[in-house]
């Protein structure tokens, strides 16, 4: 058996939902099913409470889950995606090329992406695995 991949070398996962409960719950599922080998962060909810997403929180989550291998973002609906795109645009050029937004369901995609990431896969492999759900 090969040595366990170091957490810092694995692709990070960011979960963005309108609901903080959904985002936290999806992150819990990744932690419990996949383990601690993957950098993981979540955000959700409007700054003043209630449902929503915001660019600052997404940027902070990307920073928290940052990995040299890159970060895969899972989003739920509408604004979660557009605000994530905006957050990615605000990253330094060097980081921007290493962040992808996955076209996958947020909860299932997070577990699939996390499993792939925990094996030390590349960012592109992680994204393809999350998006494979949609192609089935």
């Amino acid at each position: 058996m090969t040595a366990k991949h170091k957490i810092a070398n694995n692709v990070g996962i960011v979960i963005v939902s309108h609901s903080p409960d959904v985002a936290r719950g999806a992150a819990d599922m990744v932690r419990q099913m996949v383990g601690d080998e993957v950098p993981l962060a979540w955000c959700g909810g409007a700054p003043g409470g209630g449902l929503g997403t915001n660019v600052e929180a997404i940027l902070a989550a990307i920073d928290q889950a940052w990995s040299e291998a890159g970060v895969a973002i899972l989003v739920d609906l509408g604004g979660a995606e557009t605000n994530s795109e905006m957050a990615v645009e605000m990253l330094s050029e060097e980081r921007r090329s290493r962040v992808v937004i996955c076209d996958a369901p947020v909860v299932e995609g997070a577990v699939m992406a996390g499993t792939e990431a925990s094996a030390g896969s590349t960012l592109d492999q992680v994204r393809r695995t999350a998006e494979e759900l949609r192609a089935r």
Partner: protein, 94 residues
């Protein structure tokens, strides 16, 4: 030089090859270089054990006799490790 290996084991885990067992199996399979597949029947269809989406999508139920086949330098070690994982109920506490 490459090697081939096969092995089989019955799934006793309460819910079969569902979410958590699928993740454990895929994670372990991915630690080996060999191509690894499994099937609930010796005739196939064969599922890529390193694809979490395909493993979870196989919906292999409890009681199924799981056949593994591997091809590559560490094929024998891979099959042995995967059979042991299933025997140990995926190392998940009930």
């Amino acid at each position: 030089m490459t090697d081939s290996a096969t092995g089989s084991v019955r799934i006793e885990h309460e819910i079969g090859l569902h979410a958590r067992p699928s993740v454990k199996l895929t994670q372990l399979a991915k630690t080996f270089e060999s191509k690894i597949e499994f099937s609930a029947s010796p005739e196939g269809p064969w599922v890529d054990a390193k694809s979490i989406v395909k493993v979870m999508g196989s919906k292999t139920p409890k009681g199924a006799l799981l056949h593994f086949r591997a091809h590559g330098q560490d094929a024998e070690a891979a099959v042995q490790a995967l059979v042991t994982l299933v025997e140990r109920d995926f190392e998940l506490t009930p």
